[in-house]
């Protein structure tokens, strides 16, 4: 028997499979391992960001700053590398900045009781603004390590390629799964999303957890920023505009409730992959103009969320609780 709470993830996975098969029937070269693995490479930074977002949303919050953090991290990384700083210094530095920034937002949210939506909106303005201040122009990164990492990976038959980006994503995913399901922190996150007041009265360290959640989200966004800088070999202040909405959409399509408390990290990965597959499908189709692209994406999201509403009725599913 499948527990009802797993249904949304399975529905999303089913939709993914259906769309993949549809594409494979329609277009040459679609139903290949290569296209499938490309999804991991091309969406790695989004997936990493969305994984961080999952923790935030599970706790009942939201983080609008992630796109801007990616941009800021990318620009700062690029500028520092071009200024001749060594990578082993640059990467830890930007990650620490990211984490600290998130912790700062967490402090505002917890200690000053400000609403996450607004705090992270201000954080988004700040990070985007700082990115522009660091460099208005996009900054190319010329570094041998970048070239090496971008070339690294495992080539499979059929020109399918497991890239460094994909490997990084898998590592982050594994870490997030452990954090969510095998560490106290994860339980606290779910607890706060279930009922913040109860969580407090059950001695959940709310301050530490809130700060940790936003620090984690920003940290992962900074990591995604580094991955994005590899993906594009550059840093650009206007990169990843609106990415927070993509991340939120992926989390929700992956079956996590925006009100918090219910959902799974793994669902988010499926959500990101599904959204990436939609884009691939549209690119393979190649006949949609700009506005039809938007309309089709909107309609597909609509269909996905509507399909998710179809669930096993909860009462019947939980009918055997009595002694």
């Amino acid at each position: 028997m499948i527990p009802a709470r797993h249904a949304p993830v399975l529905v999303t996975a089913g939709l993914f499979a259906a769309l993949f098969i549809l594409g494979a029937l329609q277009y040459d070269g679609f139903g290949t391992l290569r296209v499938f693995l490309n999804l991991f490479t091309d969406n790695a930074f989004l997936a990493v960001t969305a994984i961080g977002m999952t923790f935030v949303i599970l706790s009942g919050g939201i983080d609008l700053s992630v796109g801007a953090v990616i941009a800021f991290t990318g620009v700062l990384t690029a500028v520092l590398i071009q200024a001749g700083w060594p990578l082993w210094l640059v990467f830890p530095l930007v990650l620490v900045i990211g984490g600290t920034f998130g912790a700062g937002m967490g402090c505002l949210i917890h200690f000053y009781r400000l609403q996450p939506f607004i705090v992270t909106l201000a954080g988004m303005f700040l990070m985007r603004g700082l990115a522009v201040v660091v460099s208005e122009r996009s900054v190319p990164i010329e570094h041998s390590v970048y070239d090496a990492v971008n070339a690294a990976g495992v080539m499979l038959p059929g020109r399918a390629f497991i890239s460094a980006q994909a490997i990084m994503l898998v590592i982050v995913l594994a870490g997030a799964l452990i954090l969510a399901h095998y560490r106290r922190f994860g339980t606290y996150v779910y607890a706060m999303g279930g009922n913040a007041e109860s969580a407090r009265l059950m001695a959940v360290p709310v301050a530490r957890t809130t700060i940790g959640i936003y620090a984690l989200s920003s940290f992962l966004a900074a990591l995604a920023g580094i991955m994005f800088s590899f993906y594009t070999s550059s840093g650009y202040a206007l990169a990843a505009v609106g990415l927070e909405l993509d991340a939120i959409a992926a989390v929700v399509i992956g079956g996590t409730l925006l009100t918090g408390g219910y959902g799974y990290v793994i669902g988010t990965l499926v959500g990101v992959m599904l959204m990436g597959l939609v884009q691939t499908y549209i690119a393979f189709n190649g006949s949609l103009n700009s506005w039809w692209t938007k309309i089709v994406i909107g309609v597909l999201v609509l269909i996905f969320v509507c399909l998710q509403r179809i669930r096993i009725p909860t009462r019947a599913a939980t009918g055997s609780a009595r002694e």
Binding site: Q26, Y27, D28, G29, F30, T32, R34, V35, N38, T41, D42, N43, F45, L46, V132, E136, R137, S138, V139, P140, E142, N150, R159, F228, F230, Y231, T232, S233, S234, G235, Y236, A237, L238, A239, A240, V241, G242, L243, G276, Q279, T280, I282, A283, F284, N285, G286, S287, L288, N289, S290, W291, T293, K294
Partner: protein
């Protein structure tokens, strides 16, 4: 669209075109011009709209590669960050043509050719015209494009380069108006409130849309744009010719949307085995009120 290559793959050319998005009327004209050109030549054009995001563009290009198109045309969102994906295209043996904005690439074997205009030169042209018109004595208000956009930065650079040679020319106020008409109007309104309009000699807008917005603001404030305050901008969209013909703005530098033709020419030449120039320049001219009415007719008729 069903299967892309049912036997007849060899006689019909399949080209993937990755466009920035549809953020302005000019961009839409550009897209439509490329699509029309492809239709005329019988090219199967795979169009992808990136909605202003580089990551979407990279994804689209990688999809094109996976699909095995014959060539790829990219109008990049931003100059940097193309080396990895172009390397991949090169490995797959797919020629890439860059149109519109430039790409910062050291290795020019990564692309077939660039069909490009030069934003810095556009700024210079606008600056030169204004300096000639005013004898180098002019207090200018500037409407910048989106902060961080290459077009904005380069046009500003070119323009400032020119006016630096004229000690009496100065930019007295500047602010971003995000390349849009509405913001152009709003910012101009504030400028007019902040200083005495009589002290403003000219408006320099990084695109036509913002100039058209500024024109509305000036008219509402009882100022005669084009006479009391000169207006110079870039793009040469049809609306600006109408405004120039009405005497509301003074000059515009053309950014041609017809880059599809040269791009397809280059691809076809390459596939025939001919060699292709690395840069195909499509720098536009500066238009003034004299020819505006005529140009407007020409551009709206087709």
């Amino acid at each position: 669209g069903s299967g892309s290559s049912e036997g007849g793959a060899d006689d019909q050319l399949t080209v993937g075109f990755s466009q920035v998005g549809s953020e302005s009327g000019w961009r839409t004209s550009f897209t439509q011009a490329v699509q029309a050109e492809a239709r005329d030549r019988g090219i199967d054009l795979k169009f992808s709209d990136a909605q202003q995001k580089q990551e979407n563009q990279i994804r689209a290009v990688r999809s094109f590669i996976a699909q095995g198109v014959d060539a790829i045309v990219i109008a990049p969102v931003v100059e940097t960050g193309w080396k990895p994906v172009l390397t991949e295209a090169k490995r797959a043996g797919i020629p890439v043509v860059i149109v519109d904005r430039n790409m910062a690439l050291e290795d020019d074997s990564l692309y077939l050719t660039r069909v490009a205009s030069d934003f810095v030169e556009e700024g210079r042209k606008a600056g030169r015209w204004l300096m000639e018109e005013t004898g180098g004595d002019c207090d200018i208000v500037e409407l910048q494009g989106t902060v961080g956009a290459t077009a904005a930065i380069d046009r500003m650079t070119g323009f400032n380069e020119v006016i630096a040679n004229y000690p009496d020319a100065e930019i007295v106020m500047t602010q971003t108006a995000d390349f849009t008409r509405a913001r152009g109007k709003e910012i101009m309104e504030t400028f007019l409130r902040a200083m005495d309009p009589a002290d403003i000699c000219a408006v320099w807008a990084h695109n036509d849309e913002m100039a058209l917005g500024a024109v509305i603001a000036m008219k509402e404030a009882g100022i005669d744009p084009g006479d009391d305050i000169l207006v110079v901008s870039v793009d040469a969209v049809p609306d600006i010719f109408k405004a120039m013909a009405d005497g509301d703005t003074n000059a515009t530098v053309e950014l041609s949307p017809h880059m599809g033709g040269p791009a397809f020419d280059a691809i076809e030449a390459h596939l025939r085995g001919e060699s292709v120039e690395k840069l195909i320049s499509v720098n536009g001219d500066l238009f003034t009120q004299e020819t505006a009415a005529e140009e407007y007719q020409k551009r709206t008729a087709g």
